[in-house]
């Protein structure tokens, strides 16, 4: 019989196919969706993030694990919603206007889910107005902005300014993407920055003070 531990290991090792069969199997055996999340997925992504920070794994392995995690979340999310289970913190994330890169952003979204956040993904090429609309609708605690192009960095700056101007002064804005640096984040008035998806979890927790 498969165990929660097997699911955790499968996610850590990025074995998507195993995850695909394990999740329904474990659910069928009577384990609560919330238990799968808190005892397998969240700890698994914790291990992945930790290994990444310790230079034990690199982006390829992380992407593979995140994809396995996503596979599990696809099944679990509707069930958690059904059961009325909502995580304590909500995060919004999107790639800024003019930019279509999302692999890195998706990884951050998955790591945040792995840290137990409710993550709403606005996708790519998201205009500032759309961010503001979504902030008003979902009342998130944090908003993540991603930009991968030197030429869309100004759109990130504009989005941060527009969100603040719209009066959303307390929501924490985190920024990231290959060309973004801590000093750029400070310059445009973001609350946090992180270089990779593993530290994006720490940055989010720090911004929230948890």
């Amino acid at each position: 019989m498969s165990t929660i531990e097997d699911l955790k290991t499968a996610v850590i090792n990025g074995r998507r196919k195993d995850v695909k069969t394990l999740v329904p199997e474990l659910l069928e055996s009577g384990i609560e969706p919330s238990a799968l999340l808190s005892q397998a997925l969240i700890p698994a992504m914790g291990v992945v993030g930790e290994r990444f920070k310790n230079n034990e794994i690199f982006v390829p392995e992380m992407l593979v694990s995140a994809r396995a995690m996503k596979e599990a979340m696809n099944v679990l999310e509707p069930k958690l919603l059904e059961a009325g289970i909502r995580p304590e913190h909500t995060a919004l994330i999107g790639t800024v206007e003019g930019d279509l890169h999302d692999i890195g952003k998706n990884l951050v979204a998955t790591m945040w889910k792995g840290a137990g956040f409710d993550v709403i993904d606005l996708g790519v090429n998201v205009p500032a107005a759309r961010f503001i609309e979504a902030i008003e609708e979902h009342k998130p605690h944090i908003v993540g902005l991603s930009a991968l192009l030197t030429t869309t960095m100004p759109a990130m700056r504009d989005t941060v300014a527009a969100i603040r101007e719209a009066g959303h002064t307390s929501v924490k804005l985190l920024v990231g993407g290959a060309p973004i640096t801590q000093s750029y984040a400070n310059e445009i008035g973001a609350d946090g920055y992180s270089r990779d998806a593993a530290s994006a979890v720490d940055a989010a927790k720090e911004a929230l003070g948890v």
């Binding site: 794994i57 690199f58 390829p60 992407l63 003019g98 279509l100 999302d102 030197t150 030429t151 060309p179």
Partner: protein, 511 residues
Amino acid sequence: MEIFTPDGRRHQREVPPAAVRLPLSSWLEGEHLPLNTRCGERGLCRGCLVRVDGRMLRACQAEAGAFETVSIPDASFRDNRLNGVSSFEIGTHRYALRTRPGIGLALDIGTTTVAGALWNLADGTCLAHASAANEQRRFGDNVLSRIDHAVGLGGASPALQSALVKDTLEPLIHTLCAAASIDPARITEAVAAGNTVMLHGFAGARLSGFAAYPFRPEFLGRRTLRSRDLGFTPDFPVFLGASPGPFVGADITLGALASGILEEDAPALLVDFGTNGEILLKTGDGYLATATAAGPAFEGGRLNCGAIAGKGVISSMALRGGEWKVTLAGELSGRITGISGAAYVDFIAEALRAGILNRMGRFDTDHPAVERAEVDGEMQRCVKVCGPLFVSEADVAELIQAKAAIAAGVMTLLELAETRPGELRTVYIAGGFGYHLNCAHAMAVGMLPDVPAERLHVIGNASLGGASLVLQSDAGSAADTLCGNCRVVELNQIDCFEDHFIDCMPLERIS
């Protein structure tokens, strides 16, 4: 100021009062001691790190007047001996040759390097071919930094155009003419291939349309300009090839003409291993084209010891009895300065085979060849190759992303065409690797899908070949037909790209 360059020389220069507040990198540039200002002096990369008082700092973020002594490490020194690939071959084709009196100039304008060939149009003989670094590099090593620079100036940048025309192409033309003992004034016409951004910059067109999605370039179709309007002294018509899409340029269309893919049975594939990673797939009923933005890793960019194959650069390597046997691109004069993209592919394939490296790009810490060393202030696992040259795990990770991008682009196009890799009849490999790429190694590390060796053809700088072909024949209209027949695939809009990107990351065969 006292400046030490990597060749061990000491240069004594006075910083005039007017220059004291200039960025150190800009001032050095003016003193003909240019640094690798890859990010366009924005303080984002490590290309201009110099050593001052025992610590490293970014020259673009420091003022020229602040220092007495500066030493430029090898990795930061922008080497103007940089060589590109000007060798090419032209496949069998069906175009009618147009012999006529005159001297023709074929150009391939790449982001990193430019290449040219001079032709006697009366008899179709190649008089000279050569390549040089694109001096626009000082505005950044990738097109986006240059676009950003132009956008800052309202869209078009005279400085960018002059860096290309005056500082790059004119010297290249003089080199070509000198080699052929021909007066530049005798050039009667030119054909230029290149990516869309380079052709815009060449024509002096606005780059704003490339800055963000949705992209709106000023032109994609073929154009004929006068060289005098571009800033050249001799006056002749300059024909720019047609591009299928905003980031899929005339380099791939003209490259396709030279490769012979138009005559080949479908399915056939052309991959250009450049910064932009353009791919063309011939299907049963037309063409699919895309750009995968692999980044400059295959040209040595962002790698600790990376370099473009040229004098003193390792062009291939093999592991024999625990020792790296290296081959150099040019003859050795002095020190070995870098590792080319093709040699990195050799390294990965050989290290993988020997168990030094695993399929996820990690070095085996128990292997005697693997050591820990400080790179950029961080402890990293490294393998020494020769002299001071090494490969770190971070280098391997960079190469993995680049190869995954290209392989995923190929797999996505194949999926759209409902074709399996094994069905490909012909695969052409063009671009920065020149003829150095070991295809067996490329397949072993999963840069390209597995196909039988006899179906692979390495064709060098195909776009220069294509520009040459257009110069000598009526092939130009075939390029237009190709553009009309070609569907440009935006990979961000295709869901399976991300899946393929992740699947293509491990260092293993793809089939």
